[in-house]
Structures are given as structure tokens and as C-alpha cells.
């Protein structure tokens, strides 16, 4: 059979489900970098590690509910999405983040355009996207999840993921076009 991409996630999760903290620590170390960077790309800064820890705590809490038929990263990013949404709610910052980045990327303001020309890197372009689109882009481009895994993690149909990715690409194209 084809060689696996993540050969031991299921087994480590099975160990964690049985209370094996060594297996759980191995699972954390395998995925912590991807998870912290995931939250950084969504807009977190110093709090990215806290939200990643919160996600892993949820993995431990729900470890016996994990269904081995689902890809572990789908399970992980489902919990990550919940942890991120809770984090945004707690901090009451979601609207502020969207508004502030939206203002930075507004294409018809000459002053802003000048500023944007200096600072339009991928991170700012990403931050200019609405939360729903940003999640899809980060999960697909940076976390390497397939559309169907993203759909499962977000609880939406695959067609919605496809539409959101298209909208995101169109908006990113416009943001980058400001540089021309």
C-alpha cells in the first residue's frame, strides 16, 4: 500500500485515549509548530501559543471521542477552529481585526495605497480577508489540508470551501494588484 503521510498519528491518539501521556506529548511535538503558525497566520501574535495550548488541552479532553476513521489533522483543526472562535469572542477583537485590516487594504484611498505598497506582504494581504475566507486559505495553502478535510473541520459543504477559496483568491488578487 502507498506509504503514509503521517504514519503514527492514529496510534499516538490511541495511546493518548488510553491515558498515555508520552504518546500525547509526541503528538503535541509533532503538530505544535503547524498549530502555532496557523494561529499566527490567522492574526494572533504573542497569544498564538496560548491558543495552541488551549487546542491541545481540548484534544486531551475529547481524546476518547476521536474516531480513528477521520484524519487526525481534521480533528485537530476542528478543535483549533473552536479554540480560535472562543479566543476571538473572549477578546472581543474579531470586528476590530477585520475593520483595521480592511481599512489598510482599501484600494481607493491614495494615502492608504501608498502605505499598502510599502507593506503589502502576504501576511497583510491575508489579514485583509474576512475571517471565513482567511480560515480556508490558511488551512489549504499553509496547513496543506484538502478541501474535504477543511469542509469537515469547518462544518460546511465542500462546495462552500471551493466558493470561499475562489472569493479569497479574487480578493487577494485585488490586494496585490494595488501594487502595480
Amino acid at each position: 500500500m502507498p506509504e503514509p503521510l503521517q504514519p503514527d498519528d492514529f496510534a499516538l491518539m490511541a495511546g493518548a485515549a488510553a491515558g498515555d501521556t508520552t504518546a500525547f506529548a509526541a503528538l503535541i511535538r509533532r503538530h505544535q509548530s503547524a498549530l502555532v503558525n496557523f494561529f499566527r497566520r490567522l492574526g494572533a501574535h504573542h497569544e498564538a501559543e496560548d491558543v495552541a495550548q488551549e487546542t491541545f488541552l481540548r484534544v486531551w479532553r475529547y481524546r476518547t471521542r476521536y474516531r480513528p476513521t477521520a484524519r487526525f489533522t481534521t480533528f485537530l483543526f476542528t478543535l483549533a477552529r473552536h479554540a480560535w472562535a472562543d479566543h476571538l469572542r473572549r477578546a472581543q477583537k474579531q470586528e476590530r481585526v477585520v475593520e483595521s485590516f480592511g481599512a489598510e487594504a482599501a484600494p481607493h484611498d491614495a494615502v492608504t495605497q501608498d502605505a499598502a505598497r510599502q507593506r503589502l506582504d502576504a501576511q497583510v494581504a491575508l489579514a485583509a480577508l474576512p475571517e471565513k475566507l482567511r480560515l480556508v486559505v490558511v488551512m489549504s495553502l499553509y496547513q496543506g489540508l484538502k478541501y474535504e478535510d477543511i469542509a469537515a473541520a469547518l462544518g460546511v459543504p465542500v462546495g462552500t470551501v471551493k466558493s470561499r477559496m475562489f472569493l479569497a483568491m479574487a480578493r487577494l488578487k485585488d490586494v496585490f494588484d494595488v501594487e502595480k
Partner: protein, 442 residues
């Protein structure tokens, strides 16, 4: 927003195309459309530039180890969860006394708030081998229980259903073959009903063969499906006198020999590419070696070339590489055992110094505690048994671990839960068949 965003109804497919999310057929369809649609061609190029710029910023920043802090937080978090659960239960009880309907709605809300993590009893999730004591279970009784499970789960037409047992449809032929190989492992001890199960399965396999002798659909699973099916047909042919099955064997063997590359190895498909690997080659060689032993003399030159190719992939320490002798992208334990098994079954293999090194390495790794892997258990058991080590401690320990994992009661009694790295591909049929083969090898 781009002025072209709604220029064509196909545009939504473009990001999916660039990200490799479309099937080969759909991708070709979209490519054909884009070739003749100026709006889509422009959009595609623009999206390609966006992806390039976004990916250019994909480098991840280093992250410190979160585990120590997390474990320090765990006791307090668990206390919080217990308190939370207590109040949840109290609230549910209170509501239940007010109204059964309200309580039902509450329960429904709790269950629906977490879609993917639906409850699975902890008993259904397998544990690491190292955490399970080895039981004094009777191997014969365990195998009999497993064969009974296979017997009662066979579909009326002779195959085992992938969807029903948590496996991927692309492996349908291979998994039915593994189930038949498990039944054939001690074929002379089969009961009359079990012989009927075997015959039905072989009939189904033979019916899957196309005009080229190929068993199973084209795709990345082809050569696994085909070699496993050939092996199952050969084992069946050794037990019965069905001439149709013997003809199917000959045609299946011809397909394998025609797929052999000039180098002597095999790859994922029959094409001219020299993209070959040991994982696929060992399965083709297993089929050819068994055929040779059963008197199919025409395969002999192909066996010799295949074994020569395999021998060149053994490292100086006795590990089997994947494409080269120093190539171990996914570990070497399984491939080394599989390679040793093939080399041992060849003439002079038992006296080969490379094989002795490989076996020493396999024994060393087999004795180490590890996570479950029925695929590896099968090859290690088969290799050590083929080397004549029926009572080797490493082999007994590994088989004991396999026995400990068998489901003992309930509707799946006799089977094995697919909790290893191949579980998502092969499901319960794979786990059960390979566990039986691991116990029966030699």
C-alpha cells in the same frame, strides 16, 4: 474585487485546479476549457501569481516546546472540566424533572455541538503494544474465531465490502485477496462451509480480471491489488482443482511479468517509467516466488531479475531501502522484513550473508515495544518463520501482542480493530486478515 470574477461560470474551478483539488478527469476538462476561454486563461494566470506570492511567505517561525507548560496546566484544566461536567449533569437532571422533552433537547444540543468528535467508546480504540500484557491466549482458538468472522462477513457474491468495514474502495480487490489469503493460510484445516467461502471469493476475484489479465482498477493501488489477488488465486489453486482459477493465475502472472521494468523492479503502474520501489516489488516477487514453487516455470527469469534488483537495495547494515539502498522515507522495519522474506524464499537465500544481516536487524526491531502495525507484524512474522525461528522470543512476543488486540466479544468478535497506520486504507478486513497471517506464518 476583480472585474473578471464572474466572467465565466468555470472560474470557480480555477483555484481548485491550481491547488490540485480536482480529479484527473475534471482537471483535464477545466484545462481544456481554459485553453479556449480568454477570461479563464487570464484569471488562471493571475491566481497562479497570487498563489506564488502567498506561498513565498509560507516559512514557519520556530516554536518552543509547548508540552511542559501544557502538562503543567492539565490538572487545573481537568478539575475545571469535572466541575463543568458536574454542573452540566446537574442542569440536565433538573431539566429532566421539569420536562422529559426539554431534557431530550438539551442532550441533542450537547451531541450536535461537536460534529467530528462523535463518541467512540474507549474500548474500541486500540492501545499501544507496550501497554498491553501478553495473554496466554490459545492461538488456534483465536484464528478459528477470526476465520469465523471472515466467513460471516463475506458478501453474497464472494467479496468483502470496503465501505462496510471502514476501508477505501480502491483497495477492494486487495482486501478481498487478503481475506482469502488468511483463509488459505491453513487451507487443509478449513471446514466445508469455509471452503465454500474460499471458492466464492476466488470466483469473485477471477471475475475481476480484464482482457490484459489485470486484477483491479487502474490507479495507485493497481499493483498492490493485482499482486495480492494473484497470490490469493495461487494459494487457491494449490488447494483446489479449478482449471478456470489456474488459467486466471497464468494470465495474472503474465501481467506481473509484463509490468516488470528493465531494472528488474516494479512501480505503481505498468508504464515505461523507471519509478520503482521495494514496497511494490516485494508483493510482485511474493506472487512470482509462490508461482515458481507451484510449478509455473515461466516466471523464473523474472524472479531472478527481481531478486537481483531487491538485493541491490540492501544497505551495508542490512536495511532495505525504498528506492535505493540508503533511502528510508518511512522507516525500514517493514521493508527489511519483506525483502528478507523474498530473498529467503529464493534458492540460496538462507545462506546469503546480506539476509543474515537483515534478519538480525529485523529481530532487533521486532523485540522493541512499538505501536500496532499489522502490516509490519505480518512481514516480520513471515520472515522470521521462513528463517526457521518458530519459537524465537521476538516472534513470540510480536504474536502475543497481536493476540492481545483481538476483539473478544460483541458483534465483531474474532476480528481486529484497525488502529494502525494502514487502518484508514484497509479497515477491519485488513487488520483481521493480516493479524491472522501474522499468527499463521510459517
Amino acid at each position: 474585487m476583480s472585474k473578471n470574477k464572474n466572467a465565466c461560470v468555470w472560474a470557480e474551478e480555477l483555484p481548485a485546479l491550481l491547488l490540485g483539488e480536482l480529479s484527473a478527469e475534471r482537471a483535464a476538462e477545466v484545462e481544456r476549457h481554459a485553453a479556449g476561454c480568454a477570461a479563464c486563461a487570464e484569471q488562471r494566470e493571475a491566481f497562479g501569481r497570487v498563489l506564488f506570492r502567498m506561498r513565498a511567505a509560507s516559512a514557519e517561525q520556530p516554536v518552543r516546546d509547548l508540552a511542559p507548560d501544557l502538562f503543567a496546566r492539565l490538572p487545573a484544566a481537568e478539575a475545571d472540566w469535572r466541575r463543568h461536567n458536574f454542573w452540566l449533569r446537574a442542569a440536565a437532571l433538573l431539566l429532566a424533572t421539569v420536562s422529559l422533552g426539554t431534557a431530550l433537547l438539551w442532550n441533542q444540543h450537547r451531541n450536535s455541538s461537536f460534529d467530528l468528535a462523535a463518541t467512540v467508546p474507549a474500548s474500541r480504540i486500540s492501545n499501544p503494544v507496550s501497554s498491553i500484557p501478553y495473554p496466554a491466549t490459545d492461538k488456534t482458538a483465536s484464528v478459528a474465531q477470526a476465520l469465523a468472522w471472515l466467513e460471516r462477513t463475506q458478501e453474497a457474491d464472494g467479496h468483502w465490502d470496503t465501505a462496510r468495514w471502514g476501508a477505501q474502495r480502491m483497495y477492494s480487490v486487495g482486501l478481498t485477496s487478503l481475506a482469502l489469503l488468511a483463509l488459505s493460510a491453513d487451507g487443509h484445516a478449513l471446514t466445508t462451509p469455509q471452503r465454500a467461502v474460499l471458492a466464492r471469493g476466488l470466483d469473485w476475484l477471477a471475475a475481476q480480471q480484464d482482457a490484459d489479465g489485470k486484477l483491479g482498477p487502474d490507479g495507485s493501488a493497481l499493483m498492490y491489488n493485482h499482486s495480492m489477488a494473484t497470490l490469493a488465486l495461487l494459494e487457491g489453486a494449490a488447494l483446489e482443482t479449478n482449471s478456470a482459477h489456474r488459467v486466471a493465475c497464468q494470465r495474472a502472472l503474465a501481467f506481473i511479468t509484463s509490468a516488470q521494468r528493465a531494472s528488474g523492479g516494479w512501480g505503481y503502474s505498468r508504464g515505461p517509467s523507471e519509478n520503482v520501489n521495494t514496497s511494490i516489488t516485494v508483493w510482485q516477487l511474493q506472487a512470482l516466488l509462490r508461482a515458481e514453487a507451484l510449478g509455473f516455470a515461466e516466471v523464473r527469469p523474472h524472479v531472478a531479475r527481481g531478486l537481483a534488483w531487491l538485493g541491490e537495495r540492501v544497505s551495508a547494515e542490512g536495511r532495505m531501502g525504498y528506492r535505493r539502498a540508503d533511502d528510508f522515507p518511512n522507516g525500514a522495519e517493514t521493508l527489511t522484513a519483506a525483502g528478507a522474506l523474498c530473498l529467503l524464499r529464493s534458492a540460496g537465500g538462507a545462506a546469503d550473508l546480506r539476509v543474515a544481516k537483515m534478519l538480525a536487524w529485523v529481530r532487533g526491531t521486532a523485540a522493541q515495544p512499538t505501536t500496532p502495525d499489522y502490516y509490519r507484524c505480518y512481514f516480520v512474522s513471515a520472515a522470521l518463520a521462513a528463517a526457521g525461528g518458530g519459537a524465537e522470543p521476538a516472534l513470540e512476543k510480536m504474536r502475543g501482542a497481536v493476540l492481545a488486540r483481538q476483539t473478544r466479544d460483541g458483534s465483531e468478535a474474532g476480528s481486529w480493530t484497525p488502529g494502525d497506520r494502514w487502518g484508514r486504507a484497509g479497515g477491519r478486513i485488513y487488520a483481521t486478515a493480516l493479524a491472522v497471517l501474522a499468527l499463521q506464518s510459517g
